[in-house]
Symmetry: C2
DNA sequence: TCTTTGTGCAACTATTGAGTTGCACAAACT
DNA sequence: AGTTTGTGCAACTCAATAGTTGCACAAAGA
C-alpha cells in the first residue's frame, strides 16, 4: 500500500453503510445479494460500495459457483492504522521538539 | 473520542485538501488567511475545511491578537490509529479462528 | 481618523456520491 | 424446455460537499 492510496482508504472508511457491510462480512463471507438481504439498502447500492471497498483493498471477491462472495482483508486495516499512527507520532515529535525549544533546552 | 465520532474522523481524513492543510499546519500554526496564501484554494474554502477538522478534533483554534491560528492535535491521529488497529486485529483473530476450525483444530 | 488586514456570513455553482429502478444476461435447478 | 436466482450495466434522482464570489464588520497600524 502506497501513500497515494491512503486518502481513498480513509474516504472509503468514512461511510456508515460501508462499515455496516464490513461488519456483516465479519460474520462470514457473503455475496452482494446476501448482504442486501441483511441491510436496509438495495443490492446495487451494496454492489457499488463493494467496488469502493475492493479498490482500496479492504475486501476481496471470491467466486463460489455462480455467485461472488466477498471477504474482509483485516490486515489492510492494521496496515492503515500503523501508517496513521506513524503520522500522529511524527506530529507529536515535532510538538515536543518545539516545546523543548520554547522551554530553552 | 467515542465510536460515534470515528466515521466522521475518517470522512475528514478522506479529503486531499484537508491533508494539505494538516501538512502545512505541521510546519507551524497558521491562520486561514495564511493557509490560503500557501495553498491553491480560497480562504473561505480553507475556513470550511478547518471547521470540519475542528469538529473531529484534529485541529484546535488559538486566538492570537485578532487572528485565529490553528494547531494540529497529533494525538488524535494516534488515538484513531489505535482504534483502527484494534478493529483490524479483531478481524485477523476471527480469520485465524475460522482457519483453525477449518483445519480441524 | 483613515486604511489595512483578518474573520465571518450568505448566496450561488458544480461536482461528487449514495441511493434508486429497470432491464438484460448467464448460470443453476426442476 | 422453462424457471429461478445472482450479477452486471445504464439512467436517473437527490443530497451533500468542495469550491467560488461578494459583502460586512471588527481590530490593528499609519
Amino acid at each position: 500500500m502506497t501513500t497515494a492510496t491512503l486518502i481513498p482508504m480513509f474516504a472509503a472508511l468514512g461511510d456508515e453503510t460501508r462499515w455496516s457491510i464490513l461488519a456483516t462480512l465479519g460474520e462470514g463471507d457473503a455475496s452482494a445479494s446476501a448482504l442486501a438481504g441483511r441491510l436496509p439498502v438495495s443490492r446495487q447500492a451494496i454492489a457499488k460500495h463493494l467496488v469502493v471497498l475492493r479498490e482500496v483493498g479492504l475486501v476481496e471477491p471470491v467466486r463460489v459457483g455462480r455467485e461472488v462472495q466477498f471477504r474482509v482483508i483485516g490486515s489492510q486495516l492494521s496496515d492503515t492504522a500503523r501508517r496513521l499512527d506513524a503520522i500522529g507520532a511524527e506530529w507529536d515529535r515535532r510538538l515536543s521538539a518545539i516545546k523543548k525549544i520554547a522551554e530553552g533546552f
